[in-house]
């Protein structure tokens, strides 16, 4: 069952522009949402997270927005840099009741062109 969906398998953005990666979820019990970045032959690297009690969290060039009513979150990267080219995974957690297991989306491959 696909509880976390990333409907865009790929995205191409010019350097300096904004990258917006989207994610939808179906389980209203999720209480924490995360974004991970993954390069080939490496494990996922934690980027940024947001609790379900917030609607925005910012860390440098990365901002995550959460719209609980729409069950939607997005990751904004501004300005985008070529080094941001990677696969981005959205993940959600149901907290202690699920052993803090993460439910991942299938990922969006971001390409930032010079």
């Amino acid at each position: 069952d696909q509880q976390v969906k990333q409907n865009s398998p790929s995205l191409s953005v010019q350097e300096g522009r904004i990258s917006i990666l989207n994610c939808d979820y179906t389980n209203s019990m999720f209480d924490y949402f995360l974004w991970y970045k993954k390069y080939p032959a490496e494990g996922p690297t934690f980027l940024i997270s947001i609790s379900s009690i917030k609607d925005k969290n910012e860390d440098g060039r990365f901002t995550v927005f959460l719209n609980k009513s729409a069950k939607h979150l997005s990751l904004h990267i501004v300005p985008s840099q070529p080094g941001d080219s990677a696969v981005y995974f959205c993940a959600a957690s149901g907290g202690p009741n699920s052993g803090y297991a993460l439910n991942f989306g299938k990922g969006t491959s971001l390409l930032v062109t010079p």
């Binding site: 991970y36 490496e42 934690f46 997270s49 803090y100 990922g107």
Partner: protein, 114 residues
């Protein structure tokens, strides 16, 4: 920066054989996880482990699988009687606190069952 170490990076095994995937979590971390990613699919939760016992496991984690923390540093995933469909990238992860969802992943072990 502390990292989660996984060995081997690539394991080839014959169908029906047992394999043990090894992980050394970050030393002060208390929570441990195994995930896997079949080629072209999403990262899937297998099991979480805390205080020397399994705290949560997914439907994938059936009797074929087991985890162990045999000493103070290693965390292992054993797959008995491997099947072709067990071929995947297996990621170990660890976290310091239960409230810290941004856990650190290792680089993974690519398991190929032939």
């Amino acid at each position: 920066e502390p990292e989660v170490t996984q060995t081997p990076s690539h394991q080839v095994t014959q169908m029906g054989q047992e394999v043990i995937l090894r992980c050394v979590p970050i030393s002060n971390h208390l929570y441990f996880y195994w995930y896997r990613q079949i080629l072209g699919q999403k990262v899937e939760f297998l099991v979480s482990f805390y205080n020397n016992e399994i705290s949560e496991k997914s439907e994938i984690f059936d009797d074929q699988f087991s985890v162990e923390r045999p000493d103070g540093s290693n965390f292992t995933l054993k797959i008995r009687s491997t099947k072709l469909e067990d071929s995947a990238m297996y990621f170990c992860a660890s976290s310091e606190r239960v409230a810290n969802y941004g856990y650190t992943f290792g680089s993974g072990t690519r398991l190929t069952v032939v």
